[in-house]
Symmetry: C2
DNA sequence: GCTTATAATAAGGCATGACTTATGAAGGCA
DNA sequence: TGCCTTCATAAGTCATGCCTTATTATAAGC
């Protein structure tokens, strides 16, 4: 499976997107995530495994717990793939120009 | 279902990504796409329906045929959703830097 | 050492979705 | 009108994936 395929498949599931939204405010433990969503702890672990294999999250052990957080570099390959068909050169330059303009 | 959910689900399928890649070089008829991929014509029609409902492609009738093409605006909502968690300022700068680096 | 808490894995059930063949609808052309 | 081409839809099959409960491994605290 291609890298962008893994990323897209990972983000296609609504529960995994909910996990990403929880992690947007900072790293959280598995049990913490499980408490805030209507699925069991094993289900969360399975989703986190998929997200990790897609490169979207990383994790560090903390005692008996494990803190998962969003990987800032995880989205690069997906962006590159998307840009092949929709293009972002224009958008990227425009973002720079706008910022320079207002500074 | 949310808009980004539809877009991500549409792009998660490898056959639909293959269709997008075919359309990258310009609009094509259903039969034309079907001939270039190892699935039947009805399967292609079903995939095109999903891509259209996600806003990723549009179509115009041409006689008895129907020409499908990539919708340039189809990716906007997905980008906005992604940027909420990964940020696009960084990505924009990085895109510029990478291009300058390889030129 | 023993218990408790946390997380990963195993195994199985069930819904979803991607494909097939068969059929129908609509336009172009003799 | 009749025929052919193109595409969409219907119906059914089969694989994939998301969920559950049960179990195991590891670390912390008494």
């Amino acid at each position: 499976m291609t890298y962008e395929g893994r990323v897209l498949a990972a983000l296609a599931d609504p529960t995994r997107r909910a996990i990403i939204e929880k992690l947007a405010t900072g790293g959280r433990s598995v049990a913490d995530i499980a408490r805030s969503l209507p699925v069991s702890q094993p289900a969360i672990s399975q989703h986190l495994k998929v997200l990790k294999e897609a490169g979207l999250v990383n994790d560090v052990p903390l005692g008996t717990r494990r803190i998962y957080a969003i990987d800032p570099d995880g989205l690069g390959p997906l962006r590159q793939w998307l840009d092949r068909f929709w293009g972002d050169q224009l958008a990227a330059f425009k973002a720079i120009a706008d910022r320079d303009e207002t500074s």
